[in-house]
Symmetry: C2
Subunit: 200 residues, 2 copies
């Protein structure tokens, strides 16, 4: 069983599209998904972008919104656009790193994405994040406390530095075991096919 | 028979990928392709970009180069990266507009793209453009003269203004008869499928 690294940002709508389907696609191909939450904001800022390119470049943003409507319709996914976009994903990302330690990163991440893009809720809201944790049977208060620890804060900074060092510039990004970088939900099938042609 | 508009920029490598296959895909679906050359440079400049985003954002550029290698390998296409990237596509685009008048826009455009990305040549070179026209059995000298006429210069400016007015921000871009905009070679299949589901 080979591992595909799935690098995602909670504020990223295309990351949501990939999060919904990557486990099924990988499992059907006999692979395992390694969930790797990171922050795209610091990377965008090094490019001189103070917000999402979808906000900075309105025509690009308009196409993206329509692209999302078409894709979710074709995939039978509900889409409720969040009032705040891009969301402040800092606490959610720290919680996802806590989830890596405690084994709940994948279901937590899927639930965060669903709240954001299927219900239109603001994932910066700690009460929402607590609600998601509780619904997963996880001690929300303890996990939120751990998410604020110096260890987790440093881990998220290190994660995002690793993303930059490995050439990530957007989300979602995928790494195959031989180090190939694939960017975008629309490259997911290519990454899986690449793994079949290039066994680790 | 419905018409799909194919908006492309000669300096754009993803436009090349689409130019290679759009006629076959459209014909198989019973549609006709309308070739619409335009210039992306003026649109990028309104976004504050003085060059291709692949040059301005090196990590994005590195991924794109690898993405192109993987895609061309999978499609069995030769790829020789041009020494000058992005190319100055002004004269080629004006010649393509001349080609719209005289009925050679599609074969001329495919030949320009092939010289650029399959042979790595600089399409800013008027001698190369003349060679391409001559190989197509077209009077190169007359067409180059017409490409420099005020009428054609104005037509290219108007074309690029139309692109902006219709929401184009990148290339290739596709318009279906009901006005849907699809961006990217990787949305070509979606655009064709859209036309099947939404007959004009």
């Amino acid at each position: 069983m080979a591992r595909i690294e799935f690098w995602y940002e909670f504020a990223s709508n295309y990351s949501w599209l990939a999060a919904v389907r990557i486990e099924d696609l990988a499992r059907d191909a006999g692979h395992e998904v390694v969930w790797r939450p990171f922050l795209l904001g610091p990377i965008f800022r090094t490019q001189g972008w103070t917000s999402s390119p979808f906000n900075l470049f309105p025509a690009k943003g308009r196409h993206m919104r329509r692209d999302m409507e078409r894709i979710t319709q074709a995939r039978g996914l509900p889409l409720v656009w969040p009032a705040v976009f891009p969301a402040n994903s800092l606490v959610a990302a720290r919680l996802a790193l806590v989830g890596e330690k405690h084994g709940f990163v994948a279901p937590f991440s899927r639930a965060v994405f669903a709240a954001e893009f299927q219900e239109g809720r603001d994932i910066a809201d700690r009460a929402l994040l607590a609600e998601i944790l509780t619904a997963l049977g996880i001690d929300a208060e303890a996990m939120l406390a751990e998410a604020g620890s110096p260890e987790i804060k440093a881990a998220l900074v290190a994660r995002t530095e690793e993303a930059t060092a490995r050439g990530i510039f957007g989300a979602p990004s995928l790494f195959t075991p031989d180090g190939e970088l694939f960017w975008g939900d629309d490259r997911l099938e290519q990454a899986i096919a690449w793994m079949a042609d290039h066994p680790a």
